[in-house]
């Protein structure tokens, strides 16, 4: 069972309350596809991913980024039960989407960077530590149902 300090709970709730899920989701997924281009393998039918500008302007990517952020929101609202909350999503990513779980870390690193850019100085080392702990729990839960 994951033990969260009061600081960690407050920090996670605070960060997500400040995020525009559409803007942040789209920016994060686009960044991931640009910085780690091999991740584009999962988006073959998402239209034009030819270059960075195309990726950043692609409405299907933007929409999917929003979906991802709303998925993270479920973890934010169920911090004491992330593993159970994500059981179905884990099965989906493994058996239907066939996503290599290493990609979850790549996406979470991109989210960290996007959030850092938005929060600026407020994204201190302690805040980052809490945020990355949360993301690592999410990543672990998403990988749990892979066999």
């Amino acid at each position: 069972m994951v033990v969260w300090t009061d600081f960690e709970r407050a920090t996670i709730a605070d960060i997500f309350s400040k995020l525009d899920y559409e803007a942040v989701g789209g920016a994060t997924l686009a960044r991931c596809l640009i910085v780690y281009p091999w991740t584009q393998r999962y988006f073959g039918n998402f239209g034009n991913l030819y270059n960075a500008a195309a990726i950043m302007g692609n409405p299907m990517i933007a929409k999917h980024g929003t979906t991802i952020l709303h998925g993270l929101d479920r973890a934010v609202k169920n911090m004491d039960n992330i593993k159970a909350t994500y059981a179905e999503l884990s099965v989906l990513h493994s058996e239907k989407l066939h996503v290599d779980p290493d990609n979850f870390k790549l996406l979470s690193d991109c989210l960290t960077i996007v959030v850092a850019a938005q929060l600026g100085k407020a994204f201190s080392g302690e805040v980052q530590a809490a945020f990355q702990k949360f993301l690592s729990v999410v990543v672990s839960a998403l990988g749990k149902q892979y066999h």
Partner: protein, 142 residues
């Protein structure tokens, strides 16, 4: 490997970074010690590992000095970082996995400091650059 586009992107932002190099180095190092506490094991000889402390500031400056050398040697990192590679390999013996950790923290610091400049394409070039620096630093390990 680093394309000329990558090298240009690195050098373009580096001008702004160089102006605040000490601050960025110190903040990135402090961030790393907070987010990845296992890295503190390399600094057990410091009295104070908190962000903004004298040893952290001084060492952040040292690290950024190394990166200045790396940018200057961007066309031949193995040659330019030879002495630093030997230092890390034989004296410091830092596990190379930590290069990735510090790189991540520097990237985060760049996003904090330069949110508009640190576009996905610039992020890509810097990620590639830091990976290349890490490879050059690990050259002499074995």
């Amino acid at each position: 490997s680093l394309s000329s586009k990558d090298k240009d992107a690195v050098k373009a932002l580096w001008g702004k970074i160089a102006d605040k190099a000490e601050e960025i180095g110190a903040d990135a190092l402090g961030r790393m010690l907070a987010v990845y506490p296992q890295t503190k094991t390399y600094f057990s000889h410091w009295k104070d590992l908190s962000p903004g402390s004298a040893p952290v500031n001084k060492h952040g400056k040292t690290i950024m000095g190394g990166l200045v050398d790396a940018v200057a040697s961007i066309d031949d990192l193995n040659a330019g970082l030879l002495a630093l590679s030997e230092l890390h390999a034989f004296t410091l013996r830092v596990d190379p996995a930590n290069f990735k950790i510090l790189s991540h923290c520097i990237l985060v610091q760049l996003a904090v400091k330069f949110p508009k400049d640190f576009t996905p394409e610039v992020h890509l070039s810097y990620d590639k650059f830091f990976s290349a620096v890490a490879r050059a630093l690990a050259e002499k390990y074995r």
